[in-house]
Symmetry: D2
Subunit: 455 residues, 4 copies
């Protein structure tokens, strides 16, 4: 059996929510504290599991409990947003405040400025009080009302911040690294015997969180990205042998590039980190691109920022403030490589390069993310009041569940190139099923010598 | 065991799709012809099923088969759109044509004009040839490129149309009634021994199709509806005791009103068909509205068109061309009732009434629906080539499945007022959990005498 | 000579603005207090004027004066928004506050709630203090942050409000009636010897203010209206003999209908108040509509709310709260008349009717109106500081000018059906140049008997 | 007297347009062939002109003439789009075709592919026939349906193209260089005695055409640019000492940057080519930026691509395909300079850089440009039929006029830094009136040594 989440203790206080515990009475219900959904919906696999005497894996359902761990009047909550901007941050902040204030009656809500940094000794005095009036309209704007920052901070300082201010609920809106940071705070609190519900709402515009249907803001990012793909299409069609090349977000997972491609219907080739490809040779990318131009006179290419890293030389020492390795810039590389290729072949092309990351991530949440963020915030509050800690809330096949922080940060979700989503993308672009000459793709070493130096 | 779908016969011809049957080879895979997902994800219920020796129910997965029932070069396909407009119709049409043409090599695709009517003897000559060039840009526009019509037609005439033109694949994009019509065509074809794959793509802007995650166009409709709710909020705030009243689509199911409310974050009360309510009395709607105005000076109310039908007198004899009973107009009724109520109480209010249905349904598909429609179209074509007939394709908890037409039209999906979705709505609006004075709501008879006549 | 504006007195105080009075020094300039632009740009008419010894008419230029009538530290300003909502109200409010506060150093700015009503004895206590922080983000939203109301109020009470609170600058954002109200306040103040600069920013979504290039919000209204026309086009094309009928704002002036028609490119006939038309007969509207359906299978009709009032019986006794006569509803009338016409002829049509006024007027300002409102607000403040009173500011052939309130409210601007703007509309729709059978149009009397009763 | 335009000959043929020549008959009027508007609206200047016996300068009005130079049935028209993409190109193409076809009855309309290049011997065979069906929906998309190219071509070849195909109307949609090219074609045609109306519609996204109110597409560009400024604001606010830096189009004229700044209301400093500035020193840009960060914690800077060129070393040898000198990249330069400045001062900042040019120029036309492009196209056709040649059509203070090609290409329009438009921008940003330490700005030489090398 798997993935039960940590509980701070028994549910001792009746919920202030005036809900029902019976069906068909026209009143919304509390959720049973042991409600669960199965993890894997594959029927044959389930049969195999059963026939071998196994028990199907499950997630615990989130939702309002009839009894709570915390007394609302004793709750001091804090909210922090960490890492890069992402559509929906303000919706989550607003949703948390509204739910805490109006439905559970919490009056003491703190907004931490500029991420975990704002909980450190140096900056810890800048937090602000959050009320419904303050957050009422913030969801009309992109970004984070609280501000954000990158990089880890001392978990001792962060736990100090909680303890010193008697904060017993901390909502961490952040990515991979920040969720690990949240876990470290929890461990530090535990060592001290300080009881706090620490609940994460995973934020990753790349949509690379394992298990959950999608991360908030992803839907908006796809919308904005597909608008840029449409621009690239316009530019490509506007010139003889026009090429529109768009670099999109996606360090390890090509979700934005894939979904935006599907949405736009105008991309002819999409390159993602999950799929190696050759540049040259009979099946290489450049050969396909050349053929496309010959047949149709223009082409649109979308490339995820993490794609084609095998084309670069192997040493990649640098990391950014969040500890992520700095990627080589595949967009600029492809632009130069394409121009060089056609220059050698004396084929006149017009290439327009787009790098719209900041435009995408600073957008305000679209309708779907408005809803998702509101619901995530509501569930995060239910979860904290139920005394669960060290968990995130997220939607798994349409149900809101709780998942332990360590489980959710253990692996990264990537596009399954065997699966139906990737097939749909391929069928939308009409690109070659594979762009490798052999089973092993070209590597950076060869490229370095042959291509880059030639320019 | 449940819901296997009809098959025209064995899969005899190899697919022209160049896919793989093994994992981890960087090539997208065919889908096994017996792939299945379970219907219900509740873990406890599954345990009960297993422990009593039952077999969990399943849906069959849609997707490309390695072998096909139809030889592509012998396929003549037809596409028809029926019933009211809905965002995404053109995306589905475009997706079907692109998939048939480019991936399965079908060159003979017919577009039926103006719904089933366009297959009748009287109008059967107006169908048009569809090619990638014709449909290339139609998804930039709302509505149906083919046109649509309401109402049933003789299944004999419709089957004649197929047989006379040797059409062996028919894609029906339509609602409840049209899917029943599709079923009737299939029955008629069977009686004649005429083999045709009839595949439905369910279209209902109300999102009231059972089992599937959502119907196409619904996401766009919610987006457009929430924009109108924002307008209502502006109007409400612009005047002393301002009331914005918005009637939204939803004959039997309050999904659009509910989701748009969640998305907008500015609605103070939403009324849906699933939830009876009283107008008067201590817990009645008008009492709550009055209180809201007193406390905050303005209010926004969203009402689904099918809400509050119990408030009208019982006889409702009329039906529209599609056979749907004509609803009483709850929007106009509420407007008059509210104005009358406050006039009696000598409270000056300013009410602005919005009825944006045509603006919503004529929108072009948003990003999410662009993707969904494209994938639905791809799966509909896979399904037809696999020789399945009398089915629809749809997404069920993120997986594309096939469901028999009779199963999917047997019940209507409604908002579960016990469930988490409705709770999320309630918590967003802050409205009363119930607006009934007793367990039985007011009825129309009383209203007729007391309210309407008084105006 | 014409249209000099009222001055409160000589310009005694140096402006706090750090501008220049010389050219080519890279520093923006003050505007001469007697700067003027000519009213009429027609060259031949100007030659005639000159040759007969006349002096061309002029408007006085608005803009920052090197010296001011008011000392900034003694200014108490008030802002009031009157009448129906219009895009850009919040931009004007914000612009006024920003300009007063940051550039002239005014710290005492009052926002009147709910129009002139909020200055009356009964409601005069509800005004709020306005600062840059308060108004910073209000332009992201439609409507009026201050609220509005209709109808005249006692000029004595309104002058009392100013005097009692020592307000010496009043900015009135309102239509025709409100600008007359502003004039009455000024007269009342003068009678009392109370010195106040009363500056109007004309607000009319119908764009029917004489002389000025356009009223603020009009551009946004046209944008929103053209979106609805696109919806009507989608609906019209979606059905056999589909008709999309859209009623747009425009009580006496068909500007919104005309410009939105031009913008959309999909309207086949537009009806405006300025142009009488017959319904029946060889040249009548219905004949043209019928022909259009016969030739093309669908039609889109835009009608301004004030069009075709001659088709109704003559008595129109009612007026609304602002004193405007209530118009007969030409939209509903046309819908019924069209349906009746085709029913008699046994031609099946599908008509969809749109009445989007509230959706249009509640929109937030678009880019062009963002700019225009900001500049209007800046000029209104310059004007008040220059001691001009009883004036509006507006753009006349790209120059910001001041026009006396009585001049600007003396006539209403209407579409010149002889002129190039209307010709452009006609050529866009392809409609008949005239839809009258004789030189006199049909009148309401005939319609009443023949048409309405028949339904 | 000034600016009469060339005429091919007398107006011999009656117009097919069924217009009127009298007022107040409810029928739109023809325009007199000598209708004129004055060039300068300044009243005092006009008085001076008159008093010294001068005659005011004028433009000739465009519009439908009662008699035409060309017989419609003998017209063969061609349309060509040249230079970089710009919103509205497709609207102009569509408008020309619709006007030629429906109103003047021209059936022979050619679309040249890929600019002047498509009229050369090498590519001259690729032109396509244009009909209303072909262009019906193209205005929903950005870019040019016909494609475009940069750079001059032999006027002999271009005149050959016209003569060989008997084209007697050529519509050139292009910028400065292309309009000079159009003039050269006309000269070449004249030398050969070949009669053709060559009419330009000036295209420049920078809005730097002298005399006309604005160039088409500019309004849309400002809208898109202001959206990006909003993104920059979000990014700036999202981090401690966040800086959003946006490079916008504007080689010699800062109109896009200025207007977008006004529209957004969130920019703190805008830099344009017309205004020199220092980087360092008491009044320098960096000093102001540092102060802004200190006071408010974030800043948004907009910079036109042609701004600050004095900061670079003087040699700039390169030119692009259109012959425009390649500018030094002020955006990248500022980014590096700012980062370097704060690094030296050990102030942690987060700078996000935006370069959205292609996203802006590939947009489809907004409402205002939809209208403007349609009207420009209508007037271009009226102008050609009136036998005017070597002219452009454009709007001058709300009137459509004709201006000779040489007049309009003689100077470039720039932002008047003494005038009210620039003042409005300054007051919106609150930036320093001047950012120069002395009357002479810093030059590139100094920068090269001190700044760049330090990085």
């Amino acid at each position: 059996m798997k993935w039960p989440t940590d509980r701070l203790g028994p549910l001792r206080y009746p919920s202030p929510l005036n809900l029902s515990q019976q069906d068909d009475d026209y009143v919304a219900n509390f959720v049973d504290d042991d409600a669960r959904v199965i993890v894997d919906g594959d029927w044959h696999q389930l049969q195999r599991c059963i026939s071998t005497g196994g028990t199907p894996e499950y997630f615990e359902l989130s939702g309002p409990r009839a009894n709570l761990f915390f007394q609302p009047e004793r709750v001091r909550a804090a909210i922090v947003t960490c890492g890069g901007l992402c559509p929906g941050l303000n919706n989550v902040i607003r949703g948390l405040v509204m739910q805490l204030f109006y439905h559970y009656g919490v009056r003491d809500i703190l907004g931490v400025r500029y991420g975990f940094q704002g909980m450190t000794v140096k900056y810890g005095g800048t937090a602000i009080a959050l009320t419904p009036e303050v957050v009422e309209n913030i969801h009309a704007f992109g970004g984070s009302y609280l501000g954000s920052s990158r990089g880890p901070q001392s978990s001792v300082e962060l736990a100090d911040f909680l303890q010193r201010r008697s904060i017993n609920m901390l909502f961490v809106i952040g990515g991979d690294g920040s969720l690990r940071g949240a876990r470290a705070i929890l461990d530090e609190c535990r060592n001290r015997g300080y009881e706090a519900a620490i609940v994460g709402i995973p934020k990753t515009i790349d949509n690379d969180i394992e298990y959950i249907d999608r991360s908030f803001g992803f839907n908006t990012a796809v919308e904005k990205a597909s608008e840029v793909l449409a621009c690239a299409h316009v530019e490509a069609r506007g010139a003889m042998n026009g090429i529109g090349l768009v670099k999109l977000m996606g360090r390890y997972s090509g979700y934005i590039a894939s979904r935006a491609t599907l949405a736009s219907g105008t991309v002819n080739c999409v390159l993602i980190p999950e799929l190696p490809f050759d540049l040259h040779g009979r099946h290489g990318f450049l050969t396909h691109l050349e053929m496309r131009l010959k047949n149709r006179g223009h082409a649109v290419v979308a490339v995820a920022e993490g794609a084609g890293q095998h084309l670069f030389a192997l040493e990649r020492p640098e990391t950014d403030a969040s500890g992520n390795p700095r990627l080589n810039d595949i967009g600029v590389f492809l632009r130069e490589t394409i121009l060089d290729h056609f220059a050698r072949k004396e084929i006149a092309v017009t290439l327009k390069y787009f790098d719209p990351s900041y435009i995408i991530r600073s957008a305000s949440a679209n309708t779907e993310d408005n809803i998702y963020c509101t619901e995530l915030a509501q569930h995060a509050v239910h979860t904290a009041f139920a005394g669960r800690t060290g968990v995130i809330v997220g939607m798994v096949r349409n149900a809101y569940v709780m998942i332990p922080l360590d489980v959710v940060t253990a692996h990264r979700r990537i596009v399954d190139t065997d699966g139906p989503e990737w097939l749909a993308v391929l069928q939308s672009t009409g690109q070659a099923i594979t762009m490798m000459n052999d089973s092993e793709p070209e590597t950076g070493h060869r490229i370095q010598n042959n291509e880059i130096q030639g320019m």
